[in-house]
């Protein structure tokens, strides 16, 4: 049975839930059906675009006011990094990354098996008005890298991706083809797209199509 029951106060106010099974049950990421691992295994040649799914991570949406000191401090303490307050920026300490979504909204990406504990800790640490939502099942991250990754992105998003406008660490939510994505530059030639589960297949089809002229390499 799940460890759903948090301290008494929170049970009445907010339902916190450990959503992970305790047993060995296979989790299927949004691109599970694309069988990227099989594609990766038989990748024959090189290509200008390398694609990998950063799958099954914990995605926590954090909402709160920057004026709520308890919220800001609690998040910093629990996550180990301070919430970036400068618009369109992100922080990353290796296991935890936090993306700015709006002045009162952030996305923390954490190891899946820590999502519940982090949520509980946040609730314990923070006073006042805030929201924590575990959205781990609802989205995934597609990483694009390689010399032509930016060319594929330019076919897909209207953001200005020039290094002077979109330095490493910048994050921006925008239209992506006919869906949307949260784009983050994680390295000079490396990009992360946070996409919604139900759109993942469309974006996967799109990326294959748009990268055809450069060659697409799938990595597991």
């Amino acid at each position: 049975m799940s460890e759903a029951i948090a301290p008494e106060k929170e049970v009445t106010n907010v339902a916190v839930m450990n959503q992970l099974p305790s047993g060995a049950i296979r989790a299927e990421s949004p691109l599970h059906h694309a069988e990227l691992d099989k594609l990766a295994a038989r990748n024959p040649r090189g290509g200008g675009v390398i694609l990998r799914e950063l799958k099954l991570l914990g995605h926590l949406t954090l909402r709160g006011s920057q004026d709520n000191a308890s919220f800001m401090a609690g998040c910093a303490e629990v996550l180990g990094v301070a919430l970036p307050t400068k618009p369109l920026t992100s922080v990353d300490n290796g296991s935890v990354s936090v993306r700015w979504l709006s002045p009162d909204e952030w996305l923390a990406v954490v190891p899946m098996d820590q999502a519940f504990e982090i949520e509980r800790s946040l609730r314990a640490a923070i006073e006042g008005h805030f929201q924590v939502v575990n959205g781990s099942g609802g989205q995934t991250i597609i990483e694009l890298s390689g010399p032509n990754a930016v060319d594929v992105l330019k076919k897909s998003t209207i953001l200005d991706l020039h290094p002077s406008q979109f330095p490493v660490g910048k994050v921006a939510g925008s239209v992506f083809a006919k869906a949307s994505a949260l784009v983050r530059r994680s390295g000079e030639d490396t990009w992360e797209l946070v996409v919604r589960r139900s759109f993942a297949d469309y974006i996967w089809l799109w990326l294959q199509d748009a990268s055809r002229e450069y060659g697409l390499v799938v990595k597991a």
């Binding site: 618009p87 979504l101 709006s102 002045p103 909204e105 209207i158 939510g173 239209v175």
Partner: protein, 95 residues
């Protein structure tokens, strides 16, 4: 294609990311139940629709999901200013 400065993201973004939600500064009557039909109709349907300076509300749909105000010339499509909900415009129509 409009190029719109989002006051929350603090940069210019393409129109595709936004959704226009019409004339700004239309406050919901505080006591709807005591409004006449005409007053209620005024609130929900009647608009200034100016040829020239207009204050309008935009929603950053695929970005920060915040509403904000834009002062725009509906004739030339120039955006004169952008300001947050709760703030007042600096550029206003003459007369």
């Amino acid at each position: 294609m409009l190029h719109i400065y989002c006051p929350h993201c603090e940069e210019l973004r393409e129109e595709e990311e936004f959704h226009c939600s019409g004339e700004a500064h239309i406050a919901r009557p505080l006591d709807p139940d005591n409004c006449t039909d005409a007053e209620w109709g005024e609130y929900i349907f009647f608009r200034k629709n100016p040829r020239g300076i207009q204050h309008e509300m935009w929603y950053h749909t695929t970005g920060c999901r915040k509403f904000f105000n834009v002062t725009r010339d509906t004739q030339t499509y120039e955006i004169k200013e952008v300001y947050k909900i709760g703030e007042q415009p600096k550029v206003v129509a003459e007369g």
